[in-house]
Symmetry: D2
Subunit: 373 residues, 4 copies
């Protein structure tokens, strides 16, 4: 079997599907090659926070990219609903970043300052004011930074919508199909050999998350998994209107009365089991912020393997050494948030519209930041 495509994308997570969607929308013939099912790994496990402000401690280059991506969501949500019938659950009710200690409260001050300098709105409030809006929160919360532009989406629905949106625009989705090796001719990637046959193509995009390393073929590159374990509860009684974020930990209210609680960070393991001790500690910490968690209904536990890059920065751009190879991976905790901008940027690059190499820009920006500090 020999099939010809403009672009073959390795990996059917949210990043690969977003790239497929952007490329298909520009008329390219695209194949997504996914070894399991669309969204089967980190994408379906994610809480879907669009926490540009709530989750950023410092003003770094990634912050700018995150702002751009967040700004794309309102239109993406409408368009995907029209094209695929799938509602991505986009909510823009803001996120509260909360403090339970003096140190945390001071940090909120600092964050508010630099974010306002970037032009982003945010608002500091004390615990009493917070509980007027979210009356079920614990009195142990001293203050909160409210980031009204932040929001959240349903991560599995976003991924599925990108895939079906791409398919509606002509892309081919190959589930249950593994890439066995790249086909390289005269130093240029010209196709992939898969378990469903050989696909020839002009360009290959590696978007394989924590499984990207074998396709990058460069010692200092590569991704590794950081497992995030999560639990969920549910309740018909509304307990929370907007997400609560605190130092890597969060509570995210979802439709149907669900509250997602996450996430742990376990480096270096591809084993997706959830440890019983993590279940207990996530519930304890959640209850310290929202005591009624204890009487809410248990609704399950799961985990995802978020892809961290060795350079601690997403790779988004042409591969520096392999012609015809493009790389979109290493988004770690920001895959959902950065999916729209990654897809659009990569389509620009592949179309040749975009001169800037985003990856280089990110690395350079970070270096400048480091030297400035």
């Amino acid at each position: 079997m020999m099939k010809g495509y403009d672009v073959v994308i390795i990996g059917g997570g949210v990043i690969g599907c977003s790239v497929a969607y952007s490329l298909s929308g520009r008329g390219m013939r695209v194949a997504v090659v996914e070894r399991a099912q669309i969204g089967a790994e980190a994408s379906n496990a994610a809480a879907g926070l669009l926490g540009v402000q709530a989750e950023w401690d410092e003003h770094d280059p990634l912050f700018e990219l995150a702002r751009q991506s967040r700004a794309l969501f309102p239109k993406v949500a409408v368009r995907l609903r029209e094209q695929t019938g799938i509602d991505i659950g986009y909510e823009e009710k803001g996120i509260y970043r909360v403090a339970q200690t003096d140190g945390e409260a001071e940090r909120l001050q600092y964050i508010m300052q630099w974010q306002r300098q970037t032009g982003e709105a945010c608002e500091l409030m004390d615990g009493t004011e917070l509980r007027e809006r979210e009356p079920h929160l614990s009195s142990s919360i001293m203050s909160a930074l409210f980031c009204p532009q932040d929001g959240h989406v349903l991560a599995p629905d976003l991924t599925k919508a990108f895939a079906h949106g791409a398919a509606a625009l002509g892309a081919h989705i190959y589930e249950g199909t593994e890439v066995q090796r790249l086909i390289v001719e005269n130093g240029r990637v010209t196709g992939v050999a898969t378990t469903a046959g050989v696909f020839s193509c002009d360009k290959v995009v590696t978007a394989a998350g924590a499984w990207s390393t074998p396709f990058l073929q460069q010692p200092e590159w590569g991704t590794y998994p950081v497992k995030g374990e999560m639990v969920a509860v549910k309740s018909y009684r509304p307990l929370l209107a907007a997400p609560i974020f605190q130092d890597g930990f969060y509570l995210v209210p979802k439709r149907g009365g669900r509250i997602l609680i996450g996430a742990t960070k376990v480096e270096g393991s591809y084993q997706k089991h959830v440890e019983a001790g993590s279940v207990a500690s996530l519930l304890e910490r959640a209850a310290s912020l929202l005591p009624d968690i204890r009487t809410a209904e248990w609704d399950g536990a799961w985990s995802g393997l978020r892809p961290q890059s060795r350079q601690q920065m997403p790779y988004i751009g042409p591969h520096p050494e392999m012609e015809g190879m493009y790389v979109c991976t290493g988004h770690y905790r920001n895959g959902i948030l950065l999916a729209p901008v990654t897809g659009e940027h990569m389509a620009d690059v592949i179309e040749g519209k975009e001169q800037v190499n985003l990856l280089q820009a990110l690395v350079k920006g970070r270096e400048q930041l480091a030297s400035a500090n």
Copy 2:
């Protein structure tokens, strides 16, 4: 435990939840008492067709009610999305009622005529024209009546959205709670004894679908189940844009590439198993309309027990003999379609705004229709 409510609703299906949503929106204190989970029976099993025109063979009183209800969906969809975050999957791309025999084709002519007289748009087309719009349909389809105002929703999501919408407006949802008996004082229903204690109330609404009989306490009334078995397939390749209806049988495209195929009619059994023979025959019939069904991916089988009333007509109104008791049941195949109008009408009746007894109007209308023929 003693709780006081304005209205207690027996049954957490789409009808009970719609009534709860309408009543809560008008400021009443409402409890929904559901023995299993919200939507657990016929509501979650339904295909969600809003086939007012495609499914109606004759102009009868129910047709008028169905039109009214269909007209409510656009606003209901928007409001529920805002209040609950749940998208009910409302699609208004029309439905095709198809003919594979001369007899069926003649019937389409007749239906088009009377429907146009009622002011409804509909359009007859031959098979070639149909396949221009839906290219995967079988060449054995001779003609189709296109009903552009018809549509469909996701039945489980509609039910859940009504329940969470009611809860957001203050209603209490008691899952896992059975009504053991009505409490009647001086000929008036004043509460219900449940497995979660006694609830006193001003009014009780019976919306228990195929399980309503014990609460109606009148020999000629009652509901019985008509089991509908269904199967589903899925595909990334788009196979169908709008639902196909043919004499009680249908194919309904849903988000995520799913196509629902249904339904059988098995009278009188509360046993919800799907017979293997039904699976095979549903698939065969579906493939006779849409041959690519055969290569689509199998996606499961299930059934629902649709409540038929002894009078073959939904009961929507005050109980004729028990003061304080209201009845909303027996919607048979039209529970999803009629849910919005049932909720609003029942709220009018309970508020005393509505003088007309919808049940009587329906029965009277049907009698007039019968005598006219």
Copy 3:
């Protein structure tokens, strides 16, 4: 539809199925009428402990019955495997009742004494000795009473095996079928009206667990639910060989590396949801006995509604007032353990072989015990 049976059994839990199995084995025509599926409630949720000695604090009449029933398991296991192919997972490796406080340790002494007087073997050991056998247990365990005759089974498999064993012997199993009312003629029960029609019969057995009250029709009788919430973990590394019991709490190792952890006691609610707080506290308590629970893999949570009788004693015998009605319910935490003896005893009673009314014997025995103390 009119079907004639010798005995109709209301309820397809472990008790109803055991009675059906015993009666069918004696040649009677039997129907089991189950409103959901076989074992759907408390039976499938149970941990399956056969903790005759480990769970009994005092020598009461029920202890004697429990001993008899435990003694039946070896043969029952072999017979059901032959007849149905189902292995009930019978394990007779004993149970350890453990003490973490001086008070608990003293209690173990007392229990050992009276149990040895009844002729039962049991052995007291200190923590060191215990950990030689079960090396992963916490050093906080001071001592343990080892009850070598105790064991456990897989509760869902036992229930299913009784049902299929009965069916293989000719019994009819009606799932998805509710009993709507008893048919009583001249003061004698002569059948049941169900959602699958009327079944006439000579005798009716009520074995409906926490849903038995409506069929007992006697003010002082009745059952109510005591919810037990449970969690499970799993591990390929063997962590525990035999069950650990401590004051109503237990860890039970099951095939496939699972460990069941239970159970809470929540009175009076039919709502089967598991509270998030229960998940956390069950895991914490389990880890205080077996610290490696924390790193084991989370494997789910569920609950069951165990039927407690108003007299805190199982009802096993003819109904004192309704001729033709027999009662087997209220087994609370001992349904699995007592199922074999309940089935055999009830078959004896129904055949007229058994003069003794077990229910009266139990009540009388308890009164004697009370007056002796």
Copy 4:
């Protein structure tokens, strides 16, 4: 992380787990490296037929191996139950190979003859005699060959039992762990690099089923998938006592009233979806043998990817070119049946007890057979 083992086994299917069990039983330190979960692929999908006689058309070398393996099951079943608590569902009630045409009936004669010459018992009977034993079978069945020594097991339980049996004997099971590459030093395999780190070892066994090719590194070797789709129905009424086999198609009665129906053969695809058309045709064919299938309860559909070798023969033996590498793969439809003998033989080879190379013997035997014909 650096771990040392005697043997690392790539693949946690029934073959890999059987090898692990045999090696652990002989005191070796073993690791099983499985990229998903134990049994996740073909092993859990299999019907578990031990159809040595019913499935063999000709007396070939594999028949001898299959006889040996079948003879091991009674003891394996007992031992695994004792060591792991898992009952593998071993049933030795024989298999009926049936004929619906004259051609099929003649073939049964031929098979009976050569099998009796090998010393195996088998019995030819006409349709009437067959239906005395299996009264629900279709009258269209003309005759049957009864193979009383054949039987069946529960394939998922066998796989799980081997894994837990190995773990109980000290083996380490690494789920969620992929082998990234072999470590070869001086032409000898000395370990594997996995997603859970590097494991050094004396010997590596490749038992990766349809995913074995990358580890075999020899052009003419390799395995490819042959997808088998299956469906199941269930019934409390006993419909079938022993398996029915007909030319690659079978009905297998399992505990709990299930009947497995399979299987299709789809070559070359790793996509595990079940096609809707396969569901319909499997049910139709099953109903032509056992008409009551139509009214039985639908119980699901699934598929497995059976590993076929390029030489159409299982590979069981040392790798001909890579020192330290052993190969157990390509068992196609006979993985369950051949698992015990494969494990024992491989352990003999690895211990150096076995001089004969089973792979060479198989290939040689087949060549002799070919030249003789």
